[in-house]
């Protein structure tokens, strides 16, 4: 009950290790702040190339997050609910891009969707669609590496969900689609939100697959991570400002999301627990 007794019993070793972990994450941020050339920072931030990169990062990462949700939730549902031979292989295939180096993923995307690629040659031939070195290519590359984070999070939640709730909905006259929308999705909402944030964060930080598949053209495919990397070779101070910009953008969005979505879900659970 009282927080004092709980605190007294916390093992010191755990506290110490946790404090080290916090320091491990805080230190690079402090280092960045320490090295930031504040006098020239504003010039870098307002530079048109920087602003284009920031805008591209935000818009592409949101598009790829949307694509991850649109295709990832159905995929997670199939993996969690439909029994079919080779399900394990399909799951491994769909989450492979989490573990392969992103550059390798970019090369593979190129082989598949490049102008001479397996599917890419027909996209070019039939629709005049050329994904490599285009903004759409950035979205494809980001979606490729980001979607698995959403899929595994949502699939886990679907597996843990009480399926009898869906049965109850069906006895009340709900079609399986209505039950999915009104019962299944709301009850996995916290996991869906967490998966969406994870996928978005992964998309925002995407580097390897993007630079391999979409290239590094300012204003078209140069996202903020690419711009920061490029600046490191020419002007390290600029790279530091760009890194700080990327970090603050992510941080602001994470904090904002926590309060609006994750926070609401967390306080909802807290309330029902407290009632019991």
């Amino acid at each position: 009950m009282s927080s004092r007794t709980t605190r007294d019993r916390l093992p010191l070793a755990v506290l110490g290790l946790a404090a080290l972990a916090v320091g491990f994450f805080a230190l690079p941020l402090l280092g960045l702040l320490w090295r930031t050339p504040w006098s020239s920072a504003w010039d870098v931030v307002t530079d048109p190339i920087t602003r284009a990169a920031l805008w591209l990062s935000i818009s592409c990462s949101l598009w790829s997050t949307a694509a991850s949700v649109l295709f990832g939730v159905p995929l997670a549902w199939v993996l969690a609910r439909v029994e079919f031979p080779g399900r394990g292989v399909v799951r491994a295939l769909c989450t492979l891009s989490m573990v392969v180096p992103p550059v390798v993923g970019g090369v593979a995307l190129f082989a598949a969707l490049g102008r001479r690629g397996l599917l890419g040659q027909y996209l070019d031939l039939w629709f005049g669609l050329r994904l490599p070195f285009s903004t759409a290519g950035v979205v494809v590359a980001q979606t490729f590496v980001a979607m698995p984070f959403l899929v595994i999070t949502v699939e886990g939640a679907l597996r843990q969900q009480d399926r009898r709730l869906e049965e109850a909905a069906r006895t009340l006259g709900a079609t399986s689609w209505y039950a999915f929308r009104r019962v299944t999705l709301p009850s996995i909402r916290p996991a869906l939100m967490a998966g969406t944030v994870l996928a978005w964060a992964r998309a925002l930080g995407e580097f390897g697959a993007t630079i391999t598949f979409a290239g590094n053209f300012p204003g078209r495919t140069q996202t903020l991570p690419l711009a920061a990397y490029l600046a490191l070779e020419t002007d390290p101070d600029d790279a530091i400002v760009l890194s700080l910009l990327l970090i603050s953008t992510s941080f602001l969005v994470l904090v904002g999301l926590r309060d609006r979505w994750l926070g609401a879900a967390a306080s909802g659970t807290g309330r029902s627990v407290a009632e019991r």
Binding site: A169, T171, G173, A174, Y178, R271
Partner: protein
Amino acid sequence: MVGGGRLGHRTIGCGAVSDALEIEAQVRLGGLDLAVELRVAAGETVALLGPNGSGKTTLLRAVAGLQPLDAGSIRLDGVTLDAPATHTLVPAERRPVGVVFQDYLLFPHLSARENVAFGLRARKVGRREAGERADRWLERVGLGTVGALRAGQLSGGQQQRVALARALATEPRLLLLDEPLAALDVGTRAEVRRELRRHLDGHDGPRILVTHDPLDAYALADRVVVVEHGTVTHRGTLAEITAHPRSDYVGRLVGTNLLDGVLEGTVLRLSGGGVLVVPNGEAVDGPCLATVAPSAIALHRDAPTGSPRNAWSAAVAELDRFGDRVRVRLDGPVPLAAEVTAAAAAELDIRPGDTVWASVKVTEVKVYPA
């Protein structure tokens, strides 16, 4: 003999009044091999009693459309809902069935009102009208004030009422209740049971109640069907089943004497006219149910000495041998089934029509609020 006569109102052929619900279910599921025939008339409540894993819930799920039959058929008002032979299977969402689930399965992310309105919304009733109808149902189950609360914020008894209102709101023809009172504590149980009885009476279709509590079956059902290991072992009223147990399960757990009456202090005035002295217990004055285990009743040729407070003379209506024991059905002001060993029955030399003395210790009578 056990229950054949109870199906007397079954009518085969057309034109005549037939049972609203006709079930001939065969399901193989895991280790369970279910084969049950069951008919329920409109306005009738049948209690399915049985031990855990006997197939009661599986049968209920088959009727609800959540478990397809392997063979047989389910017909409601002459409409086939499930018949593997003709590849007929009406999906759960298109069956006119309302289900109250064992632990209610209220949707945790919705308010009580939204839970009750769910079935109407799923059937394309407009948001506003569905909300108004949900409010009316909540009021009907005595929950007019909690509509905005979520399931997790309601007490057990309130959740049960919301689950009932949710099932009734779509005005289903068939009502299925799976252990509707099992999750409630004893105090709430009697009250909710009384209300449930009222709502069951107000529903004009067939009703099936799955329970493992004879008390619920006695209070809520018109007749009882006992399912064990996937097959029906007994059919009839609880009193009939108690007089003729055919299995250990019924002999020990289900086949108990149930009497109803009005409690005044330590005296229970039975609705049949008799009087039973009961222990000074938790039950308060008013309508009550009492149980007396058949084995707790002693039979004597002559008036027992030592004047036990519950002793009366009764006519032997029937004798029924069950293993090495004999069930003796007694007529009279206190209709009971007694159980004695075969040896004792032989020694007493009792036959149908004889008059014997029956006695039961006060402490062997258990009283529950009705």
